[in-house]
């Protein structure tokens, strides 16, 4: 054993192991024995919380908060495995609306989250009304399961349409005249140049835009009791209306993916003119396509029918509290600080554009500022006006399956439409196909849901 027998290659790898191990050993140990651990997946939330947590720690001597940014893609699996092993479970965590209900599976007593009902209905400190009365109720829907509320909504995410104001003005289109979707489609047919320019960002293969359209019309995946309703008449009619907009000779929509540099290039090029735009996405535009400043504007969603809902919602974040936590009161206090503290409100709003779900906060002047990016409009005002109308997204642990199945139904229907000579949306044959397909997909969701029933 006089020497190292494995040769040059192995020796260099050994050297790597020692060097990197040494470097890692020298790194400061992060504190994971903090009083509270908080997971979030949104970089914007993370940045704004990071700034104000020291203030919370100052106000509560001896309390430390470990804030962690967890990838959205990994969050669901990480929460599942953490709960499973009862290990490294955060005390508070934010999770995306579509992933939240998967945490409500199994017998109620086994659910690892705290039922927030009692806290929500209790009067607030200093005589403020209970939080329940201050928040837009529809936003609790996705986080409610079998009568228990497991999450605090972070947002409302009412939707408007973002559009390339400069292009419309050049073409002489007055967007104020677009009142209904029929008006919109009419303008769209004129503005669309196949392969070059489309009226709206809409996909023929995923339900990202179809879903908010469905909710605008009063449809959805589940009813308040968690039963599958994604094949009801509203859904069928929405689908029949949507398909010819994204397929066939008269399509007015296309999509290149909703995020990333490909999409921002398309925005810049005016490849698509209108975009479904909840408050959070308006920030994405400001950040990712910054040089479109002043060329973009927002308009309310066209109505499906006179007197119909002027908005819908897309996306959402819930804040959950795990049973694992030994400091429930403190966790609640932190949540109230992060969500409600007035001193931080303006800063956070400016960095995220996200309107809080607590109605009495909206009077703050920051929500009524003009935004140069959005052609100097008071975008906060319009989101506030729409906020009370957001539809309730009732949920069920199989919500992920349901979203997938809606996308599949869309693909089915687009395929049928393309291969059957672009049947019109009034066409009974197409309608009956759509009806049967949506029923089939909904039944698949029902089969999945039955396995989880408790």
């Amino acid at each position: 054993m006089r020497y190292f027998p494995f040769g040059r290659a192995a020796l260099s790898i050994l050297a790597l192991a020692v060097t990197s191990g040494g470097w890692l050993a020298l790194q400061p140990k992060p504190k994971h024995h903090a009083t509270l651990t908080y997971w979030t997946f949104a970089t914007t939330h993370y940045d704004s919380y990071k700034k104000i947590i020291p203030e919370f720690e100052r106000q509560n001597p001896g309390v430390t908060v470990d804030l962690e940014l967890v990838s959205l893609n990994a969050l669901a699996s990480r929460m599942q495995s953490a709960m499973l092993a009862d290990l490294d479970v955060p005390d508070l965590f934010e999770v995306e609306i579509g992933q939240s209900a998967a945490l409500f599976r199994g017998p109620t007593k086994d659910i690892g989250l705290v039922d927030l009902g009692p806290r929500l209905h209790a009067p607030g400190p200093d005589g403020t009304p209970p939080l329940w009365d201050r928040v837009v109720h529809a936003r609790f829907a996705p986080y409610t399961n079998r009568g228990h509320i497991y999450g605090l909504p972070h947002d409302i995410h009412a939707v408007q349409l973002a559009y390339r104001r400069d292009i419309f003005e050049k073409a002489g289109v007055d967007v104020r005249k677009i009142k209904t979707w029929d008006d919109f489609v009419q303008v769209g047919r004129k503005m669309t140049i196949p392969g070059k320019q489309y009226m709206m960002e809409m996909s023929d293969s995923d339900a990202t835009v179809l879903e908010p359209m469905l909710f605008q019309r009063g449809g959805g995946y589940f009813d308040a009791d968690g039963h599958v309703i994604m094949d009801n008449e509203i859904a069928v009619q929405t689908m029949c209306w949507y398909v010819p907009l994204v397929a066939g000779p008269h399509k007015i929509g296309d999509s290149v993916g909703y995020f990333g540099q490909v999409q921002t290039k398309a925005v810049e090029d005016g490849y698509m003119l209108c975009y479904i735009c909840p408050d959070w996405r308006s920030k994405n535009f400001e950040n990712d396509v910054s040089h479109m400043k002043g060329k973009m504007a927002l308009m309310p969603m066209p109505l499906a029918a006179p007197g119909g809902n002027p908005t819908t919602s897309w996306g959402g974040t819930m804040l959950g509290f795990t049973k694992h936590n030994n400091h429930q009161d403190l966790a609640w206090k932190l949540a109230m600080f992060l969500y409600l503290d007035k001193s931080q409100l303006a800063d956070r709003y400016r960095s995220t554009n996200i309107l809080p779900p607590v109605k009495d906060l909206w009077s703050d002047p920051v929500f009524h500022e003009r935004r140069a990016y959005w052609s100097n409009e008071k975008i906060g005002d319009s989101y506030i006006r729409l906020a009370p109308n957001v539809p309730a997204h009732y949920s069920n642990p199989v919500i992920q399956t349901a979203t997938d199945k809606l996308s599949q139904a869309l693909v089915d229907c687009v395929h049928y439409y393309n291969t059957h000579g672009y049947v019109d949306h009034g066409d009974a044959q197409f309608e009956s196909y759509v009806r049967s397909r949506m029923k089939m997909r909904a039944d698949e969701v029902r089969a999945m849901a039955r396995r989880d029933s408790y």
Binding site: M1, A10, P30, A42, A74, Y258, Q261, V262, N284, H291
Partner: protein, 277 residues
């Protein structure tokens, strides 16, 4: 004469075809390099490289300042190189025993090993997670290294190559009074170096690119390996392709370096590995 000329023409045509194919294969990599030298805004403005005035290292700068990239890199280097070393030692030791000794149970061991080679690794993820939880290894380097410390593939590889070491060499060492471990360490390993080189590269590439298991077992960002850390940059709300591409390129460099170093051994090792099939 004519046939010779046609052979020559055929060869030229084939050579050109090969270089064209190579160009096609390399194009995505050239694009990748170019993408890391453009700002995010320019990414799709220029197909490949932007004009010199638009060249920038800002994506690299962002990568190191806006994400804990250095930490990811160090984690990957550490976990991968330790895994390789541990695998190398255990696999060669067991491969030696299976190649040069007759002992009870040997055939059973080989049969079970063969069977597990055919089972998909994902099969055991769930119970393995459960097991590591009870052993308190979830969310630790050990949770990455220990379950990956044995490589059945590696044992077959070493068994194969060690079988070719002449028995006389071993016997001579025994007569000189070498212990069995000294034979392994002083005789067998030094003559197995080409195989060690090949194994190091294969094992390194495997551990370096490992994604699914770290994705499940790691919770804290300061332990993330490169693939996990980079996937953090992809989100349904935001994707930083420029940083992603810069990270991808930097993430490949260690493997490229190792490959260039070990190319010859690698080819030799692959054939030996193939023989067992």
């Amino acid at each position: 004469m004519n046939t010779e000329r046609s052979v020559q023409t055929g060869r030229t045509a084939l050579t050109i075809t090969m270089f064209l194919l190579a160009a096609i294969v390399l194009t995505p990599l050239v694009w990748l390099v170019a993408a890391t030298l453009k700002s995010s805004d320019d990414m799709f403005h220029y197909t490949f490289f932007p004009p010199v005035s638009h060249l920038t290292l800002s994506e690299y700068h962002d990568l190191f300042t806006k994400s804990p990239f250095a930490r990811y890199l160090a984690n990957s280097v550490f976990v991968t190189s330790v895994t390789v070393m541990v695998q190398l030692f255990f696999s060669s030791l067991a491969g030696f025993a299976l190649a040069k000794y007759e002992f009870k149970g040997k055939n059973i061991i080989v049969a079970i090993m063969l069977a597990t080679l055919l089972l998909p690794g994902q099969l055991t993820m769930a119970p393995l997670y459960d097991l590591l939880y009870h052993m308190k290894m979830v969310d630790s380097y050990a949770g990455l290294i220990v379950p990956g410390a044995v490589s059945v593939f590696g044992i077959f590889l070493f068994r194969q190559s060690i079988q070719q070491v002449p028995d006389e060499l071993l016997q001579a060492a025994r007569i000189d009074g070498c212990s069995e471990f000294q034979i392994y360490w002083d005789i067998v390993m030094p003559v197995s170096r080409p195989m060690i080189g090949a194994f190091c590269l294969i094992s390194f590439m495997g551990a370096w690119n490992s994604f699914l298991w770290p994705q499940i077992i790691l919770h804290h960002a300061e332990l993330f390996t490169l693939p996990i850390g980079l996937n953090q940059l992809v989100s349904i709300y935001q994707t930083q392709y420029g940083m992603l591409m810069a990270g991808t390129l930097l993430g490949v460099l260690p493997v490229v370096f190792l490959f260039v170093l070990l190319q010859k051994e690698f080819v030799a090792g692959l054939t030996a590995g193939a023989v067992k099939g």
